[in-house]
């Protein structure tokens, strides 16, 4: 009897030790970035470093956000990410609805094409896309970067959206059609409202992917004022004198809004992903 209780206690203790280890491992890099960004120079470059800042200060943030190029990077990233989000949501919704609710020739082929596109990574699109965008005269323009970002996010979005549309019961639509509603009205009035959480969370996911995108942004933009945040940040590190404090502050400022957005939608995202992305 005693043995059983002891065994359960050990198992419970072991479980919480594992949970704690996981928390430490996952949070360490992010925590260290945030803590470093709050340390003034004296503490930042002390060896060995102390874990927590003794005199936390926002001096690096002040330095970063009074720099007009940094503000420009933020605005560029915002414009590109919001545009990508809107394009992906609107056309993704239309495409996903069509693929789940209509029967026409070539439907399966299009689904296969969407999935294949999902598997084509940015590194393989980089070289031809650079030439195409430059050929269109869109180098260093918002439109050029947005096209690039739509290329790498759209297939993913449509794939997740399909899983949301699939869960709308067909009977509801049939009832509407029976009552004489037109096909478009059925979609607009009945199906769309039911899918708003799914579409919204997919759109935010597109925003996050676009905000984080680095490779195509770096290739499709050559002028400094049109750079996105990720590219601007990455350039800081290759400069000869690395300003670690500012870099940590900018890294933290880039990451925090994304974590907040993701936490807000992750419930829907988890539903969509586990239902659609990988089916064994």
């Amino acid at each position: 009897m005693n043995n059983k209780i002891a065994g359960r206690l050990i198992s419970k203790l072991g479980f919480w030790v594992l949970v704690l280890t996981a928390i430490v491992l996952v949070s360490f890099p992010l925590l260290w970035m945030a803590l470093s960004s709050l340390k003034p120079s004296v503490e930042l470059f002390k060896t060995p470093p102390a874990f927590f800042p003794r005199n936390p200060s926002l001096v690096w943030y002040g330095k970063a956000f009074t720099d007009s190029t940094v503000l420009r990077y933020f605005i560029n990233s915002l414009i590109v990410a919001v545009s990508t989000m809107i394009i992906d949501s609107v056309f993704g919704t239309m495409g996903a609805y069509s693929l789940t609710r209509f029967k026409y020739r070539g439907r399966k082929l299009i689904i296969a094409a969407v999935l294949s596109a999902y598997c084509i990574p940015p590194i393989m699109l980089m070289t031809p896309l650079y030439r195409i965008i430059a050929g269109l005269g869109l180098n260093s323009s918002y439109l050029g970067v947005i096209i690039g970002h739509v290329c790498v996010t759209f297939p993913f979005c449509i794939w997740i959206l399909i899983s949301f549309f699939k869960r709308v019961p067909k009977e509801i639509e049939e009832a509407a059609l029976m009552d004489g509603a037109s096909a478009f009205k059925t979609f607009y009035r009945i199906v769309l409202p039911l899918c708003v959480p799914g579409i919204l969370s997919t759109g935010i996911m597109a925003f996050i992917l676009s905000w984080n995108e680095y490779l195509l942004s770096s290739v499709l933009v050559s002028s400094d004022t049109m750079k996105t945040l990720t590219v601007g940040l990455a350039n800081y590190i290759s400069s000869t004198e690395i300003d670690w404090g500012t870099i940590m502050a900018l890294g933290t400022a880039t990451t925090i809004p994304i974590i907040i957005l993701f936490t807000a939608i992750q419930k829907y995202f988890v539903e969509g992903l586990t239902a659609g992305a990988v089916k064994g």
């Binding site: 996981a22 996952v26 992750q266 089916k279």
Partner: protein, 306 residues
Amino acid sequence: MQGRNIKAIDNLRKGSYSKRQLLGILFIAPTVLFLAVFILYPVLYNICLSFTNAKLMKSTTSFVGLENYKKLFTSTVFPKYLWNTVTWTVFSVIGQLLLGFGFALLINRKNMRFGTAFRSFLLIPYVVPAVALALVTKWILNGDYGIASTWLQSLGLIDHRQSLLAMPGTAMTVLIIINIWRSYPFPMLIYWAALKGIDKGLYEAAYVDGAGRFQTFLHITIPYLKEPTIVLAVLRIIWTATYFDLIWMVTGGGPAGSTTHLPIMIYQASFGTFQTGYASAISVILGMLLFICVAFYVKNSVTSED
């Protein structure tokens, strides 16, 4: 069955039948157009470029046949970079699947206090910008002030002012670990969904028959996870073998080419030495190596679609 119902209703209202179809076609048109112009065309264009001597800034190109491929296969660094790609991919994928599975077991525990919060927390690395992760990695491993480096130095494991990222023997290992950190959430979610899908009655029946926890794990849980594992591995192999950002921003392929994999090689050919044709040839070869994976994934997903 339900599809037939809709069809029946449509046939009932003959007038709207073609109209309804029209909406479906209208809705899919932008997707098809987009896929054709910005995915299919670049892929085909890339293949064409690989047979030319195209340069980044030059507009005149001429056909050179298999010259770029010959150059690649006779290149002395290609075998090494290919091997780096394999090492990077295999260990990253195995690592993220194992860690994802372990975390899935943790969050699958019923009635766990703060269970939902813990799950949300574990998902965070999925969205952390690669650039932020790369920068903090460089900071943690900075030879002069990095917390991990100073610690390793004080233990005498590495030389004074040395960093794991500056040593050819360890840089790749560090990158793989960081990559596992950022990519386990996806496998975790998939495994978690699969675990939830296992019929609880199976476990109860096994316990009644006197099976222990380990036995049920071995004979019920593991077989159930075989299929998700295969699909996950295939998908992650594609993503990892072609993943560029992290390595580029942390080591740039160095030191001494020890972390250069094929994506870095493509980038350097394209934007380092401006040999567009050569870069295209490398990406065609990388694409061919991964084609079997893509074909398997697409076929598998489309089949389970209906």
